[in-house]
Symmetry: D2
Subunit: 350 residues, 4 copies
């Protein structure tokens, strides 16, 4: 199975190359980057030194379909929709890590992304690539749109309880804390080490674009309207997202009920772990523990005092939040074991 990666010089692109080079059933044949065309991959992704002699080539949507059987896209938002119709016509299967095909309602793009969608007719065709919610559709999809990193963490933390229905669905707080790699590989003042070190920066207290996809998916699950109150913070680490969700309970709920609800919802899921210990220092999910893995760790606590349920998830934003889920989707699409190439255990300490 020949694999191409379109836009492979960023952090998600690098992570895809790393994962696919180690995947026993596929071969990476083409990695594109207009900025680094001609350059060895290891010059941009230094961890791959000695692992591959691949070089970047210029991106060309017209020829790439000849060179590979499945295509990953890791371009910035707003790019893939410019050439997607052309790609779709060739029949090639596509896993898009960008935001261009995540939302079902074309009207959401001007609202949340400030642009009109160029090929709204393809939105319905695209499958939202979160295996825990859409595994069967992913299997046969031609175009899979992977979730945003913070959306993945929030949806996985909230899905069972939103489906269950015993919470106030118009007051769902999503308070996200994300590492610097979430902002991509391009240097900016905000990502400058001297400015980012020791920070807890509330860079998007309201209006974060992932709100749209979180609401879309939770609405699907609950069959009702859902309003998500999201705030995103940048913190002093490179990889990882901790998502703290605060929801209000209608009536009563016991920890055991929550426990069963989550265990039931995620039964058999290879990349969901539950973390809820009475002792030790890792009693709740912590992004530190999932660095480099495809796990989404989930924990919770019931706050009787405030009729509140706190749901917590931890993911590696480049793995379960991007490239890991993308590869998991590929495994599903190609009929491989879903864990293939993703079985790595986390490092501790790191």
């Amino acid at each position: 199975m020949r694999i191409g990666i379109f836009g492979a010089s960023g952090y998600v692109g690098g992570e895809l190359i790393r994962l696919l080079l180690q995947h026993p059933k596929v071969e990476v044949t083409t990695v594109t980057s207009n900025t680094y065309a001609g350059e060895y991959v290891y010059r941009v992704h230094p961890n791959l030194r000695g692992e591959t002699n691949l070089r970047f080539v210029r991106s060309n949507p017209s020829t790439i379909t000849d060179e590979c059987d499945l295509l990953f896209i890791a371009t910035p938002h707003g790019v893939s929709s410019t050439f997607m119709p052309e790609l779709i016509e060739t029949g090639i299967r596509i896993i898009d890590a960008s935001a261009d095909f995540r939302l079902k309602n074309p009207k959401d793009y001007p609202v949340w992304y400030n642009w009109e969608h160029r090929c709204p007719e393809l939105l319905e065709k695209a499958v939202y690539g979160l295996p825990e919610l859409h595994r069967d559709e992913i299997r046969n999809a031609q175009l899979v749109a992977c979730p945003g990193c913070m959306a993945a963490g929030a949806i996985l933390a909230l899905a069972p309880v939103v489906k269950d229905g015993r919470i106030e669905t118009d007051r769902i707080i999503v308070d996200s804390k994300v590492g610097s790699s979430g902002a991509g590989a391009k240097p900016t003042r905000s990502s400058h080490h001297s400015e980012h070190y020791s920070t807890v920066r509330p860079y998007k207290p309201v209006g974060h674009r992932h709100t749209a996809e979180i609401e879309q998916e939770l609405r699907l699950l609950s069959g009702r309207d859902v309003v998500v109150s999201m705030s995103a913070h940048a913190v002093n680490m490179v990889r990882g997202i901790l998502t703290t969700c605060h929801v209000f309970i209608k009536g009563e709920i016991t920890p055991l009920e929550v426990w069963r609800m989550y265990r039931g919802f995620y039964r058999g899921e290879p990349f969901i772990r539950f973390v809820r210990d009475r002792k030790g220092i890792y009693r709740y999910p912590d992004p530190k523990v999932v660095v480099g893995t495809n796990y989404c760790d989930i924990g919770f606590e019931v706050d009787g005092h405030a009729h509140r349920l706190v749901l917590i998830s931890a993911i590696d934003n480049l793995m379960k939040g991007a490239a890991g889920t993308a590869v998991q989707n590929m495994n599903i699409m190609l009929g491989y074991d879903e864990r293939e190439g993703l079985r790595v255990m986390g490092l501790h300490p790191v």
Copy 2:
């Protein structure tokens, strides 16, 4: 004015020594530590090398009142209430940085701290030491109980809007992110560098003890019942707390109204700054910017989509969250300029 510090080997104690050594109107005469008695202060607080030849002495509540005119207490929670009645009788003025006299209702101690208060009759006598709310009472108080670090950040962010009354007071979310110095100077597995680095650890998602004092103070302001939903996270920095408060608006509120409400409430306050810019990377409060200062930076954003108001504050937990406020209280009690010894500007970058 001779000053004593009881329990001066911890981080708050060290910060008090540092501030008071630089204060032009007082003299530090006695600093106590049972663990380090006889040791030079700079061996424990290495920043004070060359600044003072003080040595720690053993704590003795009976004699310390002879050696100083005003006493700071920075002992662990549950200690100062064992000797406070004896101290109070001497007439000495006391600023207690621990939790023992923060709560007015004696019944709150068994609920939130798991112990019965030893001298509940003193609780009424104590003044909650947040100058922005209780300046007049502090002026003449004999015993001032300084706020908990996370409580200070939350109360200052919420006070104006809770007093205003246009929010749902039973659904106030306080999502705190605190640096490692907030856990004190005693090494533990959780504070071990290898375990704490790169972490975002939700160490107290529900049931945090500062909830009690936040509710107490907000209830006083609003005259109604208030329920606070607090979650505390440890992050990879040493100093600072970012508090993100999510509250739900009844009816409508404009940014301008919020702006006026906050400006009005905090008019003339020397240590409150408002941070709300349309450009730049420090558009909201950030603990990085207040390190070493006594400022509480406050910002906000209105989320029309979710009928939510997000209130954000940033403080240095050892300064405005502890020793800085303690010295500010001393200045008020002694009739000094409130900013005396606290005029330092923050460092950037740091």
Copy 3:
């Protein structure tokens, strides 16, 4: 092949468990810890949650030889020599990650470790477990003593040029920068996050114990006396060692000669990479790039101005500096492919 790990609750022990659980040819049957006996492994090593149901058992040198075919030891220095004679008699093969059998000369122990060796007769029997220098002896050894983490980084950086002989062997500077995990899992004041964050702490400017084994191995290679001037610094990261070696050249040497010398010496080595680029930001070795891998990255620069050669290596102290090399040794001893279980690529960024 049944594997036991003696002293498995520390960071090296945890890393051994992680690597061996993922190793296709062995089975971990026994992991010991007196502190955590009875506890699930994942409570101590949170990355292993969901990966294994192993529990720690008490350490018992007498019975462990029945339960496994090969034994790793990761106890603190000074422990394994108390029971090694007993173990050796059973004929079991042993890989010791501690310092007890690294030095050949019994007189070095009182000098560098402050204790008399309890079984000096075993020192000659032990093989110094650095595959790049002693592969053939390791193959048939019963007892392999793995190098100290900083020793591994220094020896691998220096071996070719010391063997070559064109440098002053009595003025070899080894300036090491190591992450906090190198100090182990036990909390101390020095490793307390608030004290370790942002530090560059010269914790052992002279007299570091690894000096002894570095000199021993370099002496063996050069056939002459070697004096190493080592200084160790703790820095603000968790994993990794950067070793900067400064040596003085007798006569002249060109970069090309150094390049050939190193390529020749390490030809075919699976875990040595050379890093020397004219552009990019990873032109020299960097511990960040080898986190989680078994690589030793080596680079150099000739300083014509000062007749100096700077040799730089980067390793992950828990991998190539401890558990990774230990597993590499196991692969050699058991006739497996040397890379088995160690083929992982590094993460970037991390």
Copy 4:
């Protein structure tokens, strides 16, 4: 005394503004930045919010001499020499934090900086602004050229022992570890948080430009030729430089002799502290302890094993390594107490 700062939007410029705003005897009247002309200073230096209403103006060497009595220059290297002759003619006194007038020998500029000096005749007129070595010349200088940050740390660590003469002056190793603020405020790939976090990057193992000024000053002190072997590393902190100097002793030297040599050389110096304890975790200098201060902490250890003396210094690169020394020079030039505006104690922990 009206003060101007030319090139005030960088980190050194910001530090100068901060220090001078707090200085009791001067007034900052003009701060220039071509990039940010018209912008409020606090938009670029967020720590100054609420402290000043100054705005940046465009740089104009012709008019600035009318607006101020003393001028600081904090432009990038190679800029100030383009307009210095014009400034000098006006008679204004100038403190230049850039490299343009540090070296006495014009031939050193093409060698170390790759450009021919535009006004070599001014080099002799300029005084090298390290008060500990040139206080008397600084007092009456018109043009003071402040040391490079790493040069300051190295020279202060080495001066007494180089002057003493009992070391090999052709084998002086300077191994520097510097925080990210040393690279300035401009975002680059190397300073991108995701790339800089957890790094120990040997970015200049040979050929660092500060070598030239270190050799110049040590040569002056010793009266003999001096060869410095410098290697610079970037580490994961924002402020600070730890300099580890390894030198070889001719004959014997005792710790007491070194101690006396250093105490004697630096007698009365207000910003030199000696750090050498037998216990505690801050037994040697550590940049963490001097953050925000103008101290240079110095320590040492004698290595009898290798005939080596290890000299260690720690400074804040933006303070004693740049703006702090610049203000100290101003105090000397204007006849103020040398500590004026620089008396701040360090923070701990930070």
